[in-house]
Symmetry: C2
Subunit: 328 residues, 2 copies
């Protein structure tokens, strides 16, 4: 891992703090105004959560590089956050997660049925926000992203316990599942602020690489974090059968290790999974995965050299450090 | 009920049969090309189903009244059908339905988790089809409809067993749940074929009233159909606690009937529900509900007087008879 420390999140927010507050207000007023009868606090619980709001921040920062109309950026950033929230609601339902960020999940409090329908409602709400930008290119990119997200979730589901898959399959899946939305968040910020095409493309590249680094960090934290930091057991992904980069690299290097061999042959025995978790944690694949993450981070920074010098660009650069040094 | 008989569906399809075939081809090729690994036959099972394709037929017929570009109409009609399919997938999951139209549901075969994620995927796919029309007004109307659908489903869920609700609440809910998509199906056909504003508005009114009649017919069939026709027990909605027009009218007229009284006070006892099913079936509320349906049907026909005389208009008119005389 690199030695730079995690930057202060407030330094990152600073150039767009006002707009980010507007995004939060917008989510809060959505929860207050929606006509969902009988659901005391349901929508508020869903959309007024904590979280670092990394994705809408990317949109706002990308948009701040040019002097475009700020209201559309706030609308877009709200849509991006709502889409993220919708996927979390359905993910938590499918994953049977009881808590997220220390709070009970929708499915835990209101049950799976409500979680399915509320997730749909939040998906649809995000789409109407995007329509409010009035920009067809942005709307299309957004709807492609919803499709990629769903495709990523489906393929993750179907590739559970498949330790034999290729790095390419893994890479495609984490693009769909995570990097696609980062990519769209950054690119649409550029499009809506009237940035020239090559700058939108550079922002798209930045978002792609930032998102890939973000997901690999997630994969790493599953092994390097503590149960206290993560709010879930160490090695939880692997125990659930979710195939991540460290495990793929480990499987490649140790196909003949008895526990790994049994997993590859289809065992889902908890003791085999547990044994591999312990081996992965102390193996060199942690550093190797961190190096892969670092290379995505570097590509994100390279992409930023193609956008105008601006205080918001410093925040976008700092975000790559933030993402790759977070502890939860 | 009126005495006119159900018209032949082929007469209705006839002016747009070629485009409807293209919609079916488009669904089939979607199932063939989507990159969903590990899901033998999943997407095909979901999108290549039977069904009368009433909603895409409405779009195509509305669009056929003017000589607009037909390819956009086929794209739009496909989006409309995909959105309908996505809602069915999630509905069947929430309702724990084992079969639909005589076939096993996605949740039944692949489980709830896959059904949630596949529903999301089909939702997103429908949105990308709408984007392909390149018409922002159509895209916006479509995303509002997704929101209304989700709102309708949520409020149906939360109003289960609430026999005390108003006809207004019921009316709003069936608009959200059913008529909104019919409305959008008709209106967008007009918009995409370049119809003038007042004609698009008339088509929207047609779709609204057709959709309301369609849903009330659904409510009626729950009492007037046979188990063989419906593929589910007679009175199934009521037994599940779903509040429909006949039951609301019955509750209004018979609030002091012991079984009804207990239901209104919160009883969910199967014997109370069963007793009310039997009473509703032989009561005058069936005819009263049919009269409400008939008035929506008449308003749909009135709206059609504002669109050009055309063979497709005859089909749209015949569709109001078809919808109000179907047996399943």
């Amino acid at each position: 891992m690199t030695s730079t420390s995690q930057p202060d999140i407030d330094f990152i927010y600073e150039p767009v703090q006002d707009q980010l507050d507007m995004v939060v207000d917008s989510l809060r007023s959505l929860a207050g105004h929606a006509k969902l009868s009988g659901e005391d606090g349901l929508l508020e619980h869903a959309v007024v959560s904590g979280g670092k709001k990394v994705r809408p921040t990317v949109t706002l920062l990308a948009g701040a590089l040019r002097k475009g109309p700020q209201d559309k950026l706030v609308t877009m950033a709200t849509a991006v956050e709502l889409l993220h929230i919708a996927t979390l609601i359905h993910d938590d339902t499918v994953d049977k997660a009881d808590t997220r960020r220390g709070r009970a999940t929708i499915s835990n409090i209101w049950g799976n049925d409500v979680a399915v329908l509320l997730g749909d409602y939040v998906f649809a709400t995000s789409a109407t926000y995007v329509c409010d930008t009035g920009n067809l290119r942005v709307v299309r990119r957004f709807s492609e992203t919803i499709m990629e997200l769903a495709q990523g979730e489906l393929s993750e589901y179907f590739s559970t316990h498949d330790w034999n898959q290729s790095i390419e399959e893994y890479t495609q899946r984490i693009y769909n599942k995570t990097a696609s939305l980062f990519c769209t968040a950054a690119e649409t910020g550029g499009v809506l602020s009237g940035a020239p095409e090559e700058e939108c493309e550079a922002l798209s590249q930045y978002g792609y690489n930032l998102g890939m680094a973000f997901q690999i960090m997630d994969d790493l934290l599953d092994f390097t974090g503590t149960e206290e930091e993560l709010g879930k057991p160490v090695g939880n992904d692997l125990l659930q059968g979710t195939v991540t980069l460290p495990v793929l690299l480990f499987a490649e290097q140790n196909p003949d290790l008895p526990s790994m061999k049994r997993l590859i042959q289809g065992s889902q025995e908890p003791e085999d999974l547990r044994a591999v978790v312990d081996l992965v944690r102390v193996s060199n694949v942690i550093d190797e995965s961190a190096a892969v993450m670092e290379s995505y981070k570097q590509k994100a920074l390279e992409a930023l050299t193609l956008v105008p010098k601006h205080r918001a660009r410093e925040s976008l650069a700092a975000l790559t450090d933030y993402v790759s040094h977070r502890r939860s």
